[in-house]
Amino acid sequence: MKDENKTKAQLTVELKALQRRVAELEKIEIHCLRMEERLKRELAERKQAEDKLKQDERKIRELAAAYVRAQEEERQWIALEVHDRLVQTLAAAFHQLQAFKSMPQAEPDSIVREVATDAFNLVKDAISETRNIMKELYPETLAKFGLHPLIREELQHLEEETGFAMGFTSNCQMRLPKDIETTFYRIFHEALLNVKKHAAGASKVTVHLNLNNGKAELMVEDNGPGFNVAAVQRKNKGPGGLESMLRRAEIIGGKVSIDSQPGQGTRVSVRIPLLLLTSK
């Protein structure tokens, strides 16, 4: 009898111990399951991060390639402009002047004057074209005077050329950093060129240049007939075109949009945060 009881008591103890053990094991199992879940989640997150990294790397490579391509296109443009506008004119002037070499002593004054005048006019043209090309390549006065005077100047020129009314508003009390100034200028300049090309029927062009909450914003709007944005962008070639100007803004962290509908005018707007320009 005693042995049985003893065994029974023992068994109960052992049973309890086993039950405790089972409970512990169950806890461990739950813990392991949770760990497994967490690991799975972490793996998924890590894979996501890796994918994003790969995507970013790809994007950087694409941007770099686009940048190099844009540079080459610019150079091509310069070569073409110089060829069309400069070299031809100078060559013509050269030929005129060559005439003097073989001119007989007794050539009548009037002919001499005519040749000289032609050469003179050709060289004058060449100088003027050189200036234009220089200005297209780099706006010399931007670094010295900043955006505001340049915007005004070009709006005034456009006004004289087209008769459109011009407006310019700005809450900007300070000059923007160099990169933003240059990018804004190029976009403004291209937008104005587009106004000339596509905005017959417009009567007003307004430019807004503002600085709010650490973001610099430029808007160029006209009340012209509008255009099909997609169609034009496909056609656009040349040193920049609005398309690549806008891409530039994106490279330095800006957000860009061209809103235009046939019949509803056009608005080009760019917003660039000031602080993305800094490197860590």
């Binding site: 700005s170 009390q173 300070m174 600085l211």
Partner: protein
């Protein structure tokens, strides 16, 4: 708006006008000499290829008229003009430049030049221009005076009240903007050092520059300015 200028040689109208050339291209100076050589009553009394060189030479020579290029290697023609004007207050200046820019012309007016001529001008304009400014007059390449001084129609003067040109003309560099933003958020120097991984001296130097560029005397004002300007 003509201000009569006393020239060193105003005793008689036959007095020779002494002209000094400042241009970094030797060919240009040579060309000018050639044009002016046969102009009666005008003599080239010296030349320089930079603002500094000009400043040193004109002290001795004291020309009546200086033909000054705007953009020379390492020299800003406008800055030079201001410096030389201090030592030669009676000299008349003509900006002689390739740039047909009304902004440059406006600057020329502002700092007291007597004229603005582009390098593709006729020799008559150049020679008569020299004569006119030596007598106290002014000479401006065709059209540029009008363009430099006109206003814009429909100009909305929001924000800066009048002239749209911003008052703060010194640009902040990207690094300075970054530090200013941190300042405006209340960061102290040590925190900025840690955050941007810069030495204490460096941060102090940046802050000093920022205060100067913003025209304020302490960090609190700078922080307020930053908010007011819309920088943060």
């Amino acid at each position: 708006m003509n201000q009569p200028q006393k020239t060193a040689s105003t005793t008689a109208k036959e007095a020779v006008i002494g002209v000094f050339l400042v241009d970094d291209h030797q060919l240009v100076r040579q060309g000018l000499r050639t044009i002016l050589r046969r102009a009666p009553g005008i003599e080239v009394v010296g030349e320089a290829s930079s603002g500094e060189e000009a400043l040193a030479l004109v002290k001795e020579i004291k020309p009546d008229v200086i033909l000054m290029d705007i953009r020379m290697d390492g020299t800003d023609g406008f800055k030079s003009l201001k410096q030389i004007k201090k030592v030669c207050p009676d000299t008349a200046f003509i900006m002689l430049t390739v740039y047909d820019s009304e902004l440059y012309a406006a600057e020329a007016i502002r700092i007291g030049a007597s004229g603005y001529i582009t390098k593709d001008c006729t020799r008559e304009l150049l020679i008569n221009g020299i004569r006119v400014v030596s007598q106290g007059g002014t000479v401006w390449q065709e059209g540029i005076l009008r363009r430099a001084t006109r206003g814009l129609s429909g100009l909305s003067e929001e924000g800066t009240g009048g002239d749209l040109t911003p008052q703060l003309v010194e640009q902040l560099t990207p690094r300075e903007l970054e530090i200013l933003a941190l300042l405006a958020e209340g960061y102290g120097n040590k925190q900025i050092c840690t955050r941007l991984n810069l030495a204490d001296i460096t941060v102090k130097k940046y802050i000093k520059n920022i205060l100067t560029k913003l025209g304020v005397s302490n960090r609190t004002h700078a922080a307020l300015m930053a908010v007011r300007l819309g920088l943060t």
